[in-house]
């Protein structure tokens, strides 16, 4: 099994498998890259509406093909229909938000459900027509990964390159528009056009991913990798790269797993792998993960206890045996009393407490969003001039 897994992972287990594994990896990479900015621009749900809105377009394109007398299913026509109706869905959401009092999430929900429902109705209508070539239209909903054709994988590779290239070229512009669109507008940047460019990329990823993971799941490839990446870094550049890597790995591993085990539907497995990465990131990422946060909280409690003990010892009070031993390890306590170092540390702790207290009284609303703000050395968190002011006021 392991040997077979190794072969699949290195694209040596057969042409079809290699095509699927490489293609879905490329799709995942494109999704992660584009999805980063969608996520930060708070457009995650809009991309879900976009994917659901492709369904009526696919059905309509099929009907158009029948009406024009085209033979059977013409894939470019169907994908073009998907793209057009997906984009129309997004434009409808924007129009609803702009011209009515609807909030964005209600507009998204309305368009998503209505468009999808319309698509289902059209598919049912097509089913009742006495016309051939309609087989497989329903597969756009859940995807059919295993039969990926060579040219599909190539399209995904090109898409991944395009996504990476556009992101690199427009990095600072996309970052600006996602962070502060008002300021961007004020500087004269065409915020709306940049938004459209981003949505166009998202639409491209959606349409190209339709046949692979299906329209219901393609949003997962756009959203889960950047969500996972967020836990690892505070820098946007790193986050984009990590999201691309997570996306690519999800595609790679997911396709591999579905190749090794016969009854697993590839699209769902890919999404589950991505979800697994998210869970891992959520729990164990050092920057913002749960385990790291718990560790920091524990360290904080220790630091707090330490400071309280030092201050008590300074004024002649006492501390628990455990704490005394801990202080001894740090060189603050020996032979039943504070050392010189310990006294210095105790005085620093006392000053720190007084200054933080002053800050809390004077400016309750301004505390930074770091969990250790009351305990960390104040000189390292607040600017020097503010600390001077606090010192004066605390006297």
């Amino acid at each position: 099994m392991l040997e077979e897994a190794a072969r699949v992972l290195t694209l040596q287990a057969g042409f079809n498998t290699a095509v699927v594994v490489a293609g879905t990896a490329a799709l995942g990479m494109a999704g992660g890259t584009v999805g980063t900015f969608l996520l930060l621009r708070r457009r995650a749900l809009v991309s879900d509406a976009l994917s659901h809105a492709t369904l009526p377009g696919i059905a309509a394109a099929f009907l158009l093909g029948v009406w024009l007398g085209l033979p059977g299913r013409s894939l470019p026509l169907l994908l073009a229909g998907a793209a057009v109706s997906g984009v129309l869905g997004v434009l409808t959401i924007q129009a609803l938000v702009r011209f009515t009092r609807l909030t964005e999430d209600s507009a998204i929900g309305a368009v998503l459900a209505t468009a999808f429902g319309l698509g289902v109705v059209l598919l049912s209508y097509i089913q009742s027509l006495q016309v051939g070539g309609q087989a497989g239209l329903g597969h756009f909903i859940l995807g059919q990964t295993a039969a990926m054709a060579w040219r599909e994988a190539v399209a995904m590779g090109v898409l991944a390159l395009a996504a990476a290239g556009t992101t690199a070229l427009l990095f600072k512009e996309l970052r600006l528009v996602a962070f502060d669109p008002g300021f961007a507008h004020g500087q004269g940047w065409p915020v709306q056009r940049l938004d459209i460019a981003l949505m166009a990329l998202a639409a491209l990823v959606t349409v190209i991913g339709l046949q692979t993971v299906g329209l219901i799941l393609v949003v997962a490839l756009l959203i889960i990798p950047p969500a996972a990446a967020r836990f690892w870094t505070e820098r946007l550049g790193a986050m984009t790269v990590i999201a691309a890597v997570v996306g690519a790995l999800s595609g790679w591993l997911g396709a591999t797993l579905s190749a090794l085990f016969p009854k697993l539907p590839a699209g769902a497995v890919i999404v589950l792998v991505a979800g697994g990465f998210f869970l891992l990131s959520f729990l164990f990422a050092p920057a913002r993960g749960l385990a790291a946060a718990a560790l920091r909280a524990a360290r904080l409690r220790l630091a707090l206890a330490e400071q309280q003990a030092l201050r008590r010892l300074l004024v002649g009070g006492d501390a628990s045996p455990v704490m005394r031993r801990w202080l001894a390890v740090k060189g603050f306590h020996r032979n039943g009393a504070l050392t010189d170092r310990g006294r210095a540390a105790a005085r620093a702790a006392e000053r720190n407490r007084r200054l933080w207290e002053r800050f809390l009284i004077d400016h309750p609303a301004l505390a930074p969003a770091t969990p250790d703000w009351g305990i960390a050395p104040i000189d390292r968190v607040l600017p020097a001039d503010l600390v001077r002011v606090l010192e004066e006021r605390a006297r």
Binding site: L40, R101, L169, L170, F171, K172, E173, R175, L176, A178, F179, D180, G182, F183, H185, G186, Q187, G188, W189, R230, T233, E234, R235, L236, M239, F359, D362, H363, A365, L366, A367, P368, A369, T370, V381, L382, P383, A384, D385, L386, R388, V389
Partner: protein, 264 residues
């Protein structure tokens, strides 16, 4: 009142600044949110230099006025000129410090990243932020006393520090006309001093600063000119002439005044 018009920054041989277009001219500006008029037929000519405070009661449209001057809200009517030409041609000359609440503090950017955004207009399309621009951004952070915090993620800064970062961003724009939306609101004492220092330095350098200011008690101390609005212009000119009891009553509409005005 006659104002001396001056071209921004230029001085002739005698040290006087020669005549030139006003930094900001607003003509007949009207703005409505969902058919409710927020600003009504506002006309204003800014003096050629100095620190200008925009004051008025809550909901008077002060923020909206600033945003309309920046082209951030749609207008129903009126025109805005910056240094004699329409706003959209002069964006390079205009800087903006917004209100603090409108930002996502969890966004993965550092203080330096945010300040560097002020330089994007100069960098232009597609090019990355070069070292020299990063240094200019760092220099702006120094001017607000935040150089040590350049690489902190912005959510980890205190409220006053965040305000200073946005101020530094505007400074990095190297603009001639600055709009600031309540830069003194809800900040600590040191930040307040830092902001004031920056404003005075901008004034000395011949720039114009238009600030929405909430605290009537400090207007006279910080600013030279004032514009009193309540959906329409009540009064404008030097601070002392604007903040009369009569004007304030007209603006605040019979509500109890926030403080005693001499001669009320």
């Amino acid at each position: 009142m006659q104002y001396l018009w001056r071209t921004p920054g230029a001085r002739d041989d005698a040290g006087q600044t020669p005549m030139g277009p006003s930094p900001l001219v607003v003509r007949g500006l009207t703005v409505a949110y969902h058919r409710k008029p927020v600003l009504w037929d506002v006309t204003y000519v800014a003096p050629p230099r100095g620190l200008i405070a925009v004051v008025g009661p809550n909901g008077a449209g002060k923020s909206t006025l600033i945003k309309a001057c920046l082209g951030l809200v749609p207008t129903v009517g009126g025109a805005i000129e910056v240094f004699g030409r329409p706003l959209r041609k002069q964006r390079r000359l205009v800087g903006y410090v917004p209100q603090r609440e409108s930002v996502d503090w969890d966004f993965p950017v550092s203080a330096l990243d945010v300040v560097a955004m002020g330089r994007y207009g100069m960098i232009g399309w597609f090019r990355p932020v070069s070292r020299s621009h990063k240094e200019a951004a760092l220099h702006a952070l120094e001017r607000v006393g935040m150089a040590d915090f350049a690489h902190r993620q912005i959510g980890q800064l205190s409220g006053g520090q965040q305000q200073r970062v946005f101020l530094a961003r505007a400074l990095a724009q190297e603009a001639q006309l600055y709009f600031m939306d309540e830069p003194f609101a809800g900040v600590d004492a040191a930040t307040e001093r830092a902001v004031l220092q920056v404003l005075r330095a901008l004034d000395a350098a011949g720039r114009t600063v238009v600030c929405v200011h909430h605290d009537l008690q400090t207007v006279a101390e910080y600013f030279d000119h004032a514009l009193l609005v309540n959906a329409r212009v009540i009064a404008d000119g030097p601070v002392g002439e604007v903040l009369t009891a009569e004007n304030l009553r007209a603006a605040y509409g019979g509500r109890p005044l926030p403080f005693e005005v001499a001669g009320a």
